[in-house]
Symmetry: C2
Subunit: 193 residues, 2 copies
């Protein structure tokens, strides 16, 4: 809580895109979103479909639905300061097959904006060929896929390489959230839209 | 049905291992198992846990539970003629983190036995480094992971490369099942246990 209190206002005026779809692991969406909003950021849930997305707990137990703020085809990546990729095994498995979603991610990579990805979230980065020569972590099931995609995979609660913040699983959320906020706060704020 | 009738008895005396855990896509387990049993094979569901596994439909909708015949640590890969890897996104995501499961798969690869994998099933083969220089297909979300692991990925209802039979999704099950049975029938039967 001390860290969270210390981050109040750190992201004032920042806009963050959370990209997710059905199968998103609930706490990996809700906790980083809450941390970003507590820090003053404006957050939007971007998805590959309109309406709402089905969150899950432990990959297989359906939880609540969450309203989508904007469909990816209607989202301008240039209007966000950073991108957050929650996990849940089904979520990135669907995102990575959607060209608009992968292209949305690639735009953040090319602009060297902060990207924070947790658990299975990094699969979408692998699809965008965005992990080559990056030091990063993930849920351990992705380790081989990420190494094969050119990443240096490490087993740490949080890993920061340039603007890429990665964590392994829900248990890492406290340090993931504070590190994500700090990394975004340190970058130059984009022109206001 | 003509093909199925023509396969009666084709696998008499053969023993097949189906390796799966929670999150297995139901029809990708039940239909190949039924096809193998119609052809006269003895089939065992091998898993990384005792008891039963939770099957799903369309990755996220829980369906029935299926009894596990044998835990992988108690299974001798030398006693099976072939290995079948059903999909369902959560299933291989869990199998590939289990050393005993990956080692079980690797033993079939090294013995050059028939391996039939559908949908997300091939992830476990990528974990075992068993797709290098193989021509294969899978659910399209795995395409990049399999290419990065050294495979030549093709978009076909069924692909046969040596003893490796792969298909993309439930819609491919009819041709997957008949091809799997034919491939196993053409191999030399292992010594009876």
């Amino acid at each position: 809580m001390a860290e969270m209190a210390g981050q109040q206002g750190r992201l004032a005026g920042r806009r963050l895109a959370f990209l997710a779809t059905d199968g998103v692991e609930e706490v990996e969406y809700t906790e980083p979103r809450a941390a970003a909003e507590r820090a003053g950021a404006q957050v939007e849930l971007i998805s590959i479909k309109a309406g709402s997305v089905q969150a899950v707990q432990h990959d297989l137990d359906k939880s609540q639905m969450y309203l989508v703020d904007r469909v990816v085809t209607q989202a301008d990546p240039g209007s966000y300061d950073a991108l957050v990729l929650p996990g849940g095994v089904v979520n990135p498995d669907r995102l990575r097959m959607n060209w608009d979603a992968v292209n949305f991610v690639r735009t953040f990579v090319e602009a060297r904006k902060t990207i924070a990805a947790i658990c299975h979230g990094p699969w979408t980065l692998a699809e965008a060929d965005a992990v080559r020569d990056r030091t990063m972590t993930s849920y351990p099931s992705l380790r081989t896929d990420l190494r094969n995609a050119g990443a240096r995979w490490v087993d740490e609660p949080v890993c920061v390489d340039g603007g890429l913040v990665t964590s392994r699983r829900p248990a890492d959320l406290p340090v993931f959230c504070t590190t994500m906020v700090e990394q975004i706060a340190q970058t130059e704020r984009i022109a206001a839209y």
